[in-house]
């Protein structure tokens, strides 16, 4: 604990969605691990913060969940993208890229010239 960066506000949801997009159906622990691995262990969060985010996405209808069995035979709740979720990933990805590009131009003005 303590090492690594905090997950920036509002980006956790996109990470979850993106993870589910690439991995298909996955349980909470798996999503948390996957986000950590993808970030190259640079990001570190309490796994617990993931669950409210999952619940929120479910309330918004971007993901759905059902109980299943893990590869090592543990009962776990599996999340997957809904149709609305897939659209949301695309939209948010696009918006994020635009924002990042704009910010990039601000932060490195000489490159954009």
């Amino acid at each position: 604990m303590g090492e690594g960066k905090e997950v920036p506000q509002g980006t956790l949801a996109l990470m979850v969605l993106k993870t589910l997009q690439s991995m298909g159906s996955l349980h909470g622990y798996g999503i948390a691990r996957r986000i950590e691995q993808t970030s190259g262990d640079l990001l570190s969060v309490n796994y617990g913060t993931l669950y409210p985010a999952l619940l929120k996405l479910e309330q918004e209808g971007y993901i759905a969940s059902e109980w299943g069995v893990s590869e090592n035979n543990r009962r776990a709740r599996y999340y997957r993208l809904t149709r609305a979720g897939k659209k949301q990933v695309e939209r948010e990805t696009r918006e994020w890229n635009e924002t990042a590009a704009i910010l990039g131009r601000f932060l490195n003005p000489e490159e954009s010239r």
Partner: protein, 886 residues
């Protein structure tokens, strides 16, 4: 937040247990998966579990965060707050009881009074489109709002362009005979347009036709639903039945709904057509026989336009009939104004008063809560240390106070629902429209608003305290904390309470002074041990003047011979404070005035010799009427001193003759009596007709005798309780088929004329008493608290040699200072506010120094008494015990 997620979160408030269990399972599976991973990488299971939990960030924290997302946090914490508030209330029954009692009284009194204001002043009158209805009066030399003569009414009806319809009505009670014991029925004679104008439809049968509203029309009558039910068992066969009223046989043609009320609080029982009355006096344009006019304005016509129109009509009539209508006009007021206009200033003053009581109640509860909040400082400190935000603490305190307020509101509503009736029943006649007073939607909204406002009002102080409080201080001081600042707020509340109580005391004091002033007004007669009532003569009286005179003498004899009766007199005309009958007069050597407007007017009373002693007049000079003065002797008249002052200034009137118009008499003035306050104790001096004359009733000319027989009054003086005479009178006269009605002692009549003021005095008195009690409790609480706070200091002082008297002075001084600042600021406030009472007080200035001084002294005395109890406790502090507290 999207709608969908809002709904889901709302749903999350319910069946949350199942979802909780499911999430618990999910978390367990999460931890298990994590442990599996750790174990696979070679960690021992116990360490793996520890690491997994650390990585998760704690099971409970996660669940808490998840729950917050799951439901609506505001509502969830609100239900939590409310539940917590309930618990806090239950755990502190003493506080809760006192606070609830205070609020129930405060809110209950406000609700009760508002329901009266709502029912009487705010709600529209219970007639369809009642805003279009207006009452029309004849404006003349006699009065701004005088009765209308029938001939003028007919012309108004024909010539106006303002009204859809216009109708005349006249109160007339009837003797019902021929069916068992004779009964007196309340009634109205009305023109055919009366019910259509009010848009009232009969529940059975039909209304009067135009043909029935004429001389020679069929004698038909309408009866009220109440009479229909009581006398005819609500049978439809009542139509076509005969009913004998005042000796005339009428046919019942319809039934008016029982719910229809007109001015009086009880239902009228009979209506007959006005236009059938063929009496020359009634048809005389110069004479208004108690006729009133109501009209329904066309849609879109304002009162002002209506007034202009009616002025035009009055002008035309003045030109056409100068002897009657010269200088006469029309006064037009909305029906509602006419009905409730007089009571409005009283009710508004009372509403303000009761609002002040609630303010004091709130200040008291706020102080209680402040005291409690200090005791709970550690609880709050702990809660905020555990992560409750300031906002959350404030919200919790506010939920507690709002819960208290709402609970007080519910109890207050119950109190008001039961209390309003009893207060109104205690003081009948004081307020019109009382039957329409009820707890309706507007009253409910008012109570809810008042309860919420009160809750927030008295919760704000402790909540603000919680907002500002410093966590570290509170924990450090171990709960005794922040005394100085807290007391400042408490002191402020006590000063406000004292000031408000003083304002209410001044209000009540002014009303008491008003009534005292009115009671001590010399009425001009002696109301003590005197009684008056009306007599309806037997139905077969006929119109022979000799017979009628003989009957009047018989009535006099019968009443005079009752045991206990000292003197009695028949009275034709009207009783003081009960009605009016004016006549024009002019001196014998003057020409007859060309018009009513130029006449000298006077009130007239047709009386017998005993009237002087029966009502208790003051004979100033000459003699009063005696047995000698009869229809066979010279015409005589007795006048009052106002008459002399007005029409014979600086002369001796005795022996002078006057013309009494309308009665065609030229009597000689034989005596002067003191003026009687005919128009009421407070308004007599401003009435347009104040002069008074007394004529022997037997000398009233033959042609008017049937009118006299139509209804007379009697004034009786008895040796003891006059009220006890009433049943005997009733019995005696019933033998002659005569009905006694409207019996009242003269003292009751005077009291009735003061009903609205008495109502205000009683209520303001109750409010002031409540205010004094509440503010005494307030100051008692603050001083007690002060003593509790300084008990060690006091102990130390005593140990160091302070005298007990010094301690007493110290504590009382504090209370005195608070009271004085309250009384001071209250006096200033009362000076400003009491001016609003100008309309309802009499004989006392709004800034009456005696009243102000008296209530200030009273309040200071009571407040010091309230402070004395804790001060005495301080005086008796045992220094050893006080010091050991540390």
């Amino acid at each position: 937040m999207s709608l969908r997620s809002s709904l889901l979160r709302m749903a999350g408030l319910f069946h949350s247990q199942r979802r909780d269990r499911e999430f618990q399972a999910e978390l367990e599976s999460h931890v298990q998966l994590h442990i599996d991973d750790f174990v696979r990488s070679g960690m021992n299971p116990a360490e793996a579990r520890r690491q997994a939990l650390i990585k998760l960030g704690g099971i409970e924290q996660t669940r808490e965060a998840w729950r917050r997302q799951g439901g609506l946090p505001a509502i969830e914490s609100l239900t939590q707050d409310v539940r917590y508030a309930f618990r806090a209330m239950r755990k502190n029954p003493g506080f809760t009881c006192i606070a609830l009692l205070t609020l129930t009284l405060g809110i209950g009194a406000n609700t009760a009074l508002f329901s009266v204001v709502n029912g009487v002043l705010l709600n529209p009158l219970p007639y369809p489109h009642s805003e279009q209805l207006a009452i029309l009066y004849q404006k003349s030399a006699l009065a701004d709002q005088g009765a209308v003569s029938y001939a003028n009414f007919l012309d108004w009806q024909r010539q106006n362009e303002t009204f859809l319809s216009m109708a005349a009505f006249r109160e007339q009670s009837f003797n019902l005979t021929g069916e068992g014991e004779p009964t007196r029925l309340s009634g109205h004679e009305v023109s055919a347009d009366f019910f259509p104008t009010l848009e009232v439809k009969p529940v059975l049968g039909r209304l009067f036709t135009g043909d029935e509203d004429r001389v020679g029309g069929e004698p038909v009558a309408l009866i009220g639903g109440g009479l229909w039910k009581a006398r005819y068992g609500s049978s439809p066969s009542v139509l076509g039945r005969g009913i004998t009223l005042n000796g005339v046989r009428y046919t019942i043609i319809g039934v008016i709904p029982e719910t229809f009320l007109f001015y009086n609080g009880y239902g009228t029982q009979v209506w007959t057509p006005l236009g059938q009355w063929n009496d020359p006096t009634f048809r005389d344009r110069r004479i208004a026989m108690g006729l009133n006019v109501i009209g329904r304005m066309k849609t879109g016509v304002t009162l002002d336009r209506g007034r202009q129109d009616m002025e035009r009509v009055a002008h035309t009539l003045a030109e056409a009939y100068p002897d009657a209508d010269k200088g006469a006009g029309v006064t037009m007021v909305s029906f509602k104004q006419d009905m409730v206009g007089d009571i409005a200033p009283f009710l508004l003053v009372l509403l303000a008063g009761v609002g002040f009581v609630l303010m004091i109640a709130c200040a008291n509860v706020a102080n209680l809560m402040l005291a409690r909040a200090t005791g709970r400082a550690r609880e709050f400190a702990l809660r905020s240390a555990l992560g409750a935000s300031r906002g959350r603490l404030v919200r919790q305190l506010l939920s507690e106070s709002v819960l208290l307020g709402v609970a007080g509101g519910v109890l207050g509503l119950a109190l008001a629902a039961s209390g309003t009736r009893s207060i109104l029943a205690l003081l009948p006649d004081a307020v019109p429209r009382t039957r329409e007073i009820s707890v309706d939607f507007r009253v409910l909204i008012f109570t809810l608003a008042v309860s919420l406002l009160a809750g927030i009002g008295f919760g704000l102080a402790p909540a603000l305290r919680a907002w500002r409080s410093n966590l570290m201080d509170a924990l450090k001081e171990g709960g005794r904390g922040v005394a100085g600042r807290r007391l400042r707020a408490q002191n402020a509340f006590v000063v406000i309470e004292m000031a408000t109580a003083l304002v209410l005391l001044v209000g009540a004091g002014l009303m008491i002074r008003t009534l005292a002033a009115l009671w001590s007004v010399d009425t001009g007669f002696d109301p003590h041990n005197a009684l008056s009532f009306y007599v309806a003569m037997q139905p077969d009286l006929g119109s022979d003047p000799t017979h009628i005179r003989a009957e009047l003498r018989k009535i006099h004899e019968a009443v005079r011979n009752q045991p206990g009766v000292v003197s009695a007199s028949v009275l034709a005309g009207s009783l003081p404070m009960q009605g009016d009958s004016e006549l024009p007069v002019w001196k014998i050597d003057e020409p007859k005035p060309a018009s009513a407007a130029e006449s000298k007017w006077t009130l007239f009373y047709g009386v017998e010799a005993d009237y002087l002693s029966a009502i208790g007049l003051n004979l100033l000079s000459g003699r009063f009427i005696t047995q000698v003065d009869s229809e066979h002797s010279p015409q005589v008249v007795v006048v009052d001193d106002y008459f002399v002052h007005k029409y014979f200034p600086g002369q001796n009137p005795i022996g002078k003759r006057i013309n009494v118009g309308m009665l065609d008499l030229q009597p000689e003035i034989i005596g002067v009596v003191g003026h009687v306050k005919h128009w009421g104790l407070d308004t007599d001096a401003t009435a347009k007709v104040q002069a008074q004359i007394y004529i022997p009733c037997t000398q009233i000319p033959d042609r008017f005798m049937p009118l006299v027989g139509n209804g007379i009054a009697m004034v009786v003086r008895s040796a003891n309780d006059p009220g006890a005479q009433i049943p005997a009178m009733r019995k005696t006269l019933a033998n002659a088929q005569q009905v006694v009605y409207g019996a009242e002692t003269l003292e009751e009549i005077i009291a009735g004329s003061l009903a609205a003021r008495r109502f205000s005095m009683v209520l303001l008195g109750i409010f002031a008493a409540l205010a004094v009690v509440l503010s005494s409790i307030g100051i008692y609480g603050v001083i007690s608290y002060l003593v509790g706070q300084r008990i060690q200091e006091i102990g130390t002082r005593i140990a160091l040699g302070a005298q007990r008297g010094d301690v007493l002075r110290l504590i009382l001084g504090r209370g005195f200072a608070l009271t004085l600042s309250g009384v001071g600021s209250g006096s200033v406030l009362a000076l400003i506010l009491s001016r609003q009472m100008k309309k309802i007080i009499y004989g006392v200035s709004p800034s009456d120094p005696a009243t102000f001084a008296a209530v200030a002294v009273l309040l200071i005395a009571i407040a010091l008494l309230a402070c004395y109890l804790p001060a005495r406790r301080a005086m008796r502090v045992d220094p050893m015990i006080a010091l050991r507290y540390e």
